[in-house]
Symmetry: C2
Subunit: 141 residues, 2 copies
DNA sequence: TATAAAATCTCTAGCAACTAGAGGTTCAAG
DNA sequence: CTTGAACCTCTAGTTGCTAGAGATTTTATA
């Protein structure tokens, strides 16, 4: 049985974040010492690693909740899991697309001014003021 | 002079968001009718367009504050503006990089399971549980 | 002009996923 | 047995909004 600090070290998840995950129901309520401090076993470590890994891949807390639910029932169909993963994948792809558009536009704007003049003549500021100076679309989704 | 609703329609910024921008100091306090409703002129419309455009490009409220400050002083050096823009550009590039890593990993994981089995055998879940099943790094920044 | 509907006002609270800090208790080493 | 590190709970803050309540004002129609 290890303390929350030790668990934190091993998983690289901060202590308050671990407590937050518990509050959100991602982690079951930890066992406690007589003095009310949390203690974790191997199962706790593995679950937190799972969560951490999923968070690193950008899954939301809610999605992770569902994934854990499935993991806890080995006999259920895993369709929901693959659905969650592919929806996450398409989210990521959408974000990449949008960011690439932004990158293009930002780099074009940036190149327009070297920062040596005054703001009156600044192409960066002018571009923001006047959408007509823009190439493409960059609406929010 | 136009109402906040009209301004909202023209700029595609929602009414509560306009009020929020005012509260944050991005927009100056609007003139009011005798009945205390906000009225905007051309300058207000232009400023909000500027903000909206900058937000679309992903600039933070704080960054936009600085940009507006510069825009209001045409004689100042625009170095800060170009700095802000290029820092935003590099932020965007960093995000793209990270998302591409995620995309690779997610697509690899997704392909590993067609969702027709049970969760015990699901490659998606197994990958999340065991980091060794991963290719690369996908740490948070 | 009267009335009703639409728009506006302020205020508070909520979202995601944490992070920071206060003030107090417990654990582990020496 | 002391002391200092680690832990506890609780509240509030972060970012950029969005939603809703309850009250008032404006505008369009009868």
């Amino acid at each position: 049985m290890i303390s929350i600090g030790e668990l934190s070290k091993r998983t690289k998840v901060k202590v308050p974040t671990i407590r937050y995950y518990e509050e959100m129901g991602l982690l079951p309520e930890a066992e406690r010492t007589s003095g009310n401090q949390r203690r974790y076993d191997k199962a706790g470590l593995e679950r937190l690693s799972f969560i951490r890994h999923a968070r690193d891949l950008g899954f939301s807390i809610e999605a992770i909740s569902s994934l854990i639910e499935l993991q806890d029932h080995p006999d259920r169909s895993c369709e929901a899991a693959t659905d969650i993963a592919s929806s996450q994948l398409s989210d990521v792809r959408t974000k990449i697309k949008r960011l690439k558009t932004l990158e293009k536009e930002l780099s074009r704007i940036s190149k327009g001014c070297n920062g040596e003049g005054v703001s009156e003549d600044c192409y960066v500021l002018a571009s923001l003021a006047d959408h007509n100076l823009c190439d493409g679309e960059h609406q929010k989704p």
